[in-house]
């Protein structure tokens, strides 16, 4: 909810605090409330209820879609951000029970003690716009329970703190909680008082998430539950610091590319995107970027991508720090070169594509592919310039003869014909008169009703040869009495060899 409000604030849509707001997700019977703000909670809206019911309760409820995947990604980033307090942090759970777990063993004295550290964490999070419920305990389970059901900024003093917490603090599933409720076990202390043998027999076959005994052991520390913090994604960056500000980075580019290539090789990665950034002495930052068609760490190739584009960088009064960074990488394993010598053809082709797109722009280069369509201009589609062609799901229709060249868009011609449905006897194209000597056709191509606008006319294609020997692909759009406009129009659409 607070992340959503931050995004709204960044977009300039400041929402008043007294406006009831809810984020929704899809439930089995329509959207349900995923998160809500304080005004909505005071108005009686509850989490997990259907939106239509809550609208009846609170007619002024504002609703937007939740983004659980974005929340999860933000939580992962925040786990890395939280490494400022201790080296072992991990994002815990997802959805309603999401949280961060920090193993602060041995690092709390650096922040002035446990209580001061908790206050500091809460203050830092509040500057980010998040509220947090914090707790400090020797085990993951105890901290989880205290954070959700304990007092504000709870710090574990002894097992007696835990005994008063409800059994919901044991991280159990809903069915197990209901069962414990029916057994009359309301608090953790009640559960701990039950003889261990009976509990073990009752929940012998339950998995960890539904086993109150194992969860209790985790909370008290009898069962170890270590953190497994994920590594931060490595940053591939090469840097040159200069003693004096310079204006032209050309001479440093090969060394930077070689350095970055070595770093990428050490990580078995290849760059797909590159940023060359210069930090100017007046504090400004200027950057040019390049992209590759296939993952690459070849220093000469990477240097080529910037070769003619260094003028685009604005040096100002000079810069003294240059970085070359690969923000997007892909795994690229070492491959054996051919024993017989010679170049790998796909590699050479992808490098050619990079050179052409760097110089002339990505829009200039295309690799046409085929598409299952009878309409000529739709039978071609653009594929990425490198890589295998995507498979065609429906088989290609068996077209008639198709021209070598296609005019896009088709050019209108003036036509003389003997019979309205027949081929033209003579046509004027680009102010020149062509007399038809032979023709083939018509080939009728109907509009694709599932994507064409209503009222699109059918086309009758003719292959005609004029007296000079040139072979054209003409079509008549529509029929005389099809009721979709006036007289049919004629177009030249292509040329045969």
């Amino acid at each position: 909810m607070e992340r959503w409000q931050r995004i709204q604030d960044q977009q300039g849509n400041v929402t008043p605090d007294d406006l009831p707001l809810a984020l929704t997700r899809e439930g089995p019977h329509g959207p349900v409330v995923h998160a809500l703000n304080r005004a909505a909670r005071l108005a009686g809206v509850t989490q997990g209820a259907r939106v239509v019911d809550m609208r009846a309760l609170c007619p002024g409820l504002q609703v937007d879609y939740a983004d659980p995947a974005g929340d999860q990604a933000a939580l992962g980033r925040m786990a890395l951000w939280a490494r400022r307090w201790c080296p072992w942090t991990v994002a815990d759970g997802g959805g309603d029970t999401a949280g961060l777990v920090l193993d602060t063993t041995g690092s709390d004295h650096l922040w002035g003690g446990e209580a001061a550290m908790l206050a500091g964490i809460e203050a830092e999070l509040s500057t980010l716009g998040y509220t947090a419920r914090l707790a400090l305990a020797p085990t993951w389970g105890a901290a989880w329970a205290l954070a959700r059901f304990g007092p504000v900024r709870a710090i574990w003093r002894g097992a007696a703190d835990l005994a008063v917490l409800p059994v919901a603090g044991l991280r159990l599933g809903a069915e197990t909680l209901l069962l414990l409720q029916r057994l009359g076990l309301k608090t953790v202390g009640d559960l701990a008082a039950v003889p261990r043998l009976g509990l073990a027999r009752r929940f012998a076959r339950a998995a960890l998430a539904d086993n109150p005994l194992l969860r209790l052991d985790q909370m008290t520390g009898h069962l170890a539950e270590p953190l497994a913090p994920p590594d931060a994604p490595p940053v591939f960056r090469a840097t040159v610091r200069l003693a004096e500000p310079i204006l032209d980075p050309t001479h440093h580019l090969p060394a930077l590319c070689a350095d970055l290539g070595a770093r990428l090789a050490a990580g078995n990665q290849g760059a797909r995107k590159l940023w060359l950034t210069v930090y100017r002495t007046d504090g400004e930052v200027s950057r040019i970027s390049a992209a590759t068609a296939a993952a690459s760490r070849d220093a000469a190739h990477l240097a080529f991508l910037f070769r003619d584009r260094l003028q685009a960088i604005k040096p100002g009064f000079g810069f003294d720090l240059i970085t070359l960074e690969a923000p997007v990488v892909e795994p690229l394993a070492l491959t054996q070169t051919r024993l017989g010598g010679g170049q790998d053809s796909t590699l050479a082709l992808s490098q050619l594509v990079d050179r052409l797109t760097t110089r002339f722009g990505a829009a200039a280069l295309s690799r046409p592919g085929l598409r299952a369509s009878h309409v000529p201009e739709r039978a071609e589609r653009q594929a990425p310039p490198v890589g295998p062609a995507p498979p065609l799901l429906p088989p290609l229709p068996d077209h008639g003869e198709r021209p070598l060249r296609l005019l896009a868009p088709p050019e209108e011609i003036r036509v003389l014909y003997a019979v309205p449905e027949g081929p033209p006897a003579q046509f004027v194209w680009r102010r020149q008169t062509h007399r038809t000597t032979r023709y083939q056709g018509p080939e009728r191509i109907a509009p694709e009703w599932w994507q064409d606008r209503p009222g699109t006319r059918l086309r009758d294609y003719f292959k005609v040869e004029d007296e000079a020997g040139c072979r054209y692909w003409l079509y008549r759009e529509g029929l005389h009495d099809d009721g979709r406009g006036g007289d049919p129009r004629w177009f030249v659409h292509g040329m045969f060899a």
Partner: protein
């Protein structure tokens, strides 16, 4: 009178040695093709017939004027010529100078089966030096380069072979007498480094993928040699 002249691929002993082999040059080099009017796709068809069956992708570069005036290569039509899906890299550029730069880049890549550059008119960038660079690059890397020129005059050029290609009325259609059949082209090799220039009437036999040639001028020395219809395989 029209005579049939034979240019077999493997070199028949009685074939005219001087005429050499028409078609794909023995060594990859720069070949210049002067096309006819804007609606005449014979030059593109001739180039495609040479390139189509050779494996590997083809880089096809057009300047904006050629694209607007003569259309762009159309893959469903090229497929019948053997240039299947995924083998065509199409590059459209505004300036003719860029076309030459891109062609030079493409000739540096040995993975290509060929580079085709289309240029409209006589731009100043396309000088003797530019064609010489293309020819040397093509020969060094072994990638054939075809320069299709629309609406151009045959000025100074370093191309090893220079052709002028026009459409001719097509051959008879086997099934339909009113329809055009296999395409026919008028070929004129007006300058060549290792072949004897000449004029031919070519018929592109699409089913067999070969180009049948017939000389358009009578040739007395060949009158006695009335062998079977000669042919030159396109790919």
């Amino acid at each position: 009178m029209t005579r049939i002249v034979a240019f077999p691929k493997t070199g028949r002993p009685d074939a005219p040695q001087a005429a050499g082999r028409v078609g794909l040059p023995a060594a990859a080099s720069l070949t210049e093709v002067f096309a006819g009017a804007a609606g005449d796709a014979a030059a593109a068809g001739f180039v495609l017939a040479q390139l189509g069956r050779a494996g590997g992708p083809v880089l096809w570069i057009q300047d904006q004027l050629s694209r607007r005036e003569t259309g762009q290569p159309y893959l469903p039509g090229l497929r019948a010529q053997g240039l299947g899906a995924g083998r065509l890299l199409l590059l459209t550029l505004t300036r003719p100078a860029d076309v030459l730069v891109a062609a030079e880049e493409g000739l540096g890549c040995a993975a290509l089966a060929g580079v085709v550059a289309e240029i409209w008119g006589d731009p100043s960038a396309l000088c003797f030096t530019a064609t010489k660079r293309l020819a040397l690059r093509a020969e060094a890397q072994g990638v054939p380069c075809w320069l299709i020129r629309h609406g151009a005059t045959a000025d100074l050029s370093a191309a090893r072979d220079r052709w002028r290609i026009r459409s001719l009325p097509a051959a008879r259609h086997p099934d339909d007498p009113r329809a055009p059949g296999d395409p026919c082209w008028g070929l004129e090799l007006f300058r060549s480094r290792d072949k004897v220039p000449g004029r031919w009437q070519a018929r592109h036999d699409r089913a067999a993928d070969r180009i049948d040639l017939a000389a358009t001028v009578p040739d007395g020395t060949l009158a006695a040699d009335t062998g079977p219809a000669g042919q030159c395989h396109a790919g």
